[in-house]
Amino acid sequence: MNTPVVSETELHAYLDGELSPERMAEVAAHLRDDPQAAARLAHYETQRQALHAAFDPLLDEPLPPALSRLTAAPAANAALWQRWRLPQLAAGIALLLLGASAGWLGHARWQPEPTLAGLPELSRRAAVAHVVYSPDPRRPVEIAADQEDLLVRWLSKRLGSAVRVPHLGNQGFSLVGGRLLPGGSGPVAQFMYQAANGERLTLYLSGEFSGKPETGFRFAREGEVNVFYWIDGRFGYALSGGIDKPQLARVATAVYDQLGTP
């Protein structure tokens, strides 16, 4: 038997139907004698199927109007021939809101109402910490959940105040662990949680708001991260995640309830 020699690129070309019928038959014969190569090709074929399974749903989705409009010739569509981007729009709205709240704060200066200048900083820092650590598959935390007691003792000592870790199993999130981070003026803590599907949340605790009046929940969208943040007792808290706002609100409520109960 003389098995024809088959190159690596020919194996791929066989898979992709790029060979002449004669060569296809020869490669098929070769594969019968080379189970390793056959197994590898089978895996490449599952890649193709997995890619389709993952991304084909996009083909059936309704098109975003901002995109379908751009298929019209620009001359016929001069008014729309502008760059229209959601982030820019969002930034515009944020600026408007900022202007409005600055006006409101300006007004509030004459009221006994306390202003919480550091509070937006809390959500921003928490979101940045979330973005930095939550995608890390291997070292997302410094101390893992199997050493929870050690984690709590260490963070309590470093933050100078007793820290408690909420348990969010009822919300479908288990504790991964925690780490210490630099805050605006001292150490802060971050706890990380993970759902069965891999989705991660982080809870950011800062002692920098000690003595500040307590607040209700506030919501911020920092890039693609949703954040609920509030001040309660000795800490400022911020819960960050990629999950949608109502879902995050439910988890935030669970955190608040657990930490609020002495």
Binding site: E8, T9, L11, H12, A13, D16, E18, R40, H43, Y44, T46, Q47, R48, A50, L51, H52, A53, A54, F55, D56, P57, L58, L59, D60, E61, L63, P64, A66, L67, S68, L70, T71, A72, A73, P74, R83, R85, L86, P87, V131, S134, P135, P137, R138, Q194, A196, N197, G198, E199, R200, E224, G242
Partner: protein
């Protein structure tokens, strides 16, 4: 003047979005790339010859934009989380697959990811890929072989996190 046909463009849009999403790794970034592609297509409409296939031309524009983008910006910070949005009607298992695939794709060199996606997802012939990317067919084949093998290793790698698990 322009021979570009709006209806033909519209018909290509879903495939442009699918490819961009797989290539970029997040939904917003992908739609931005598609938007830029459409804008540049109209701006370069006179370069398109009606006899030519529209799809490779559009994918080629997207590819050039992607090079510009790559030169001027940092890759997205967390494609992993965003992947959850891709398939709204997907089941839990599908979602794991998408997350695992996204994570693995993100670790492929861009040049291998492009060729692999154009062949395996877009089902382009090697010749079409070569035209689209402006590279010789031999380069298409070697990048494809390297990309598929690297993806196989990445997906087979034991991962500590469930998001990187592959469902066989």
């Amino acid at each position: 003047m322009s021979q570009l046909d709006s209806q033909a463009l519209l018909a290509e849009l879903p495939r442009l979005r699918r490819y961009a999403r797989a290539l970029v790794g997040d939904r917003a970034g992908a739609d931005d790339l598609v938007q830029d592609t459409l804008e540049r297509a109209w701006a370069n409409a006179t370069q398109w010859r009606p006899g030519n296939a529209l799809r490779p031309w559009l994918f080629g524009i997207m590819h050039n934009l992607r090079i510009d983008q790559y030169r001027s910006s940092v890759p997205p910070l967390y494609p992993l989380d965003d992947a959850a949005e891709v398939a709204t009607r997907a089941t839990q298992d599908d979602r794991l697959d998408v997350l695992a695939l996204d994570a693995a794709l993100a670790r492929l060199p861009e040049e291998q990811r492009q060729v692999l996606l154009l062949v395996s997802l877009e089902e382009m012939s090697y010749g079409e890929v070569a035209t689209t990317l402006g590279i010789p067919p031999g380069t298409v084949m070697s990048r494809l072989a390297r990309g598929r093998e690297r993806l196989r290793q990445l997906l087979d790698e034991p991962q500590p996190s469930p998001r990187l698990r592959v469902v066989k």
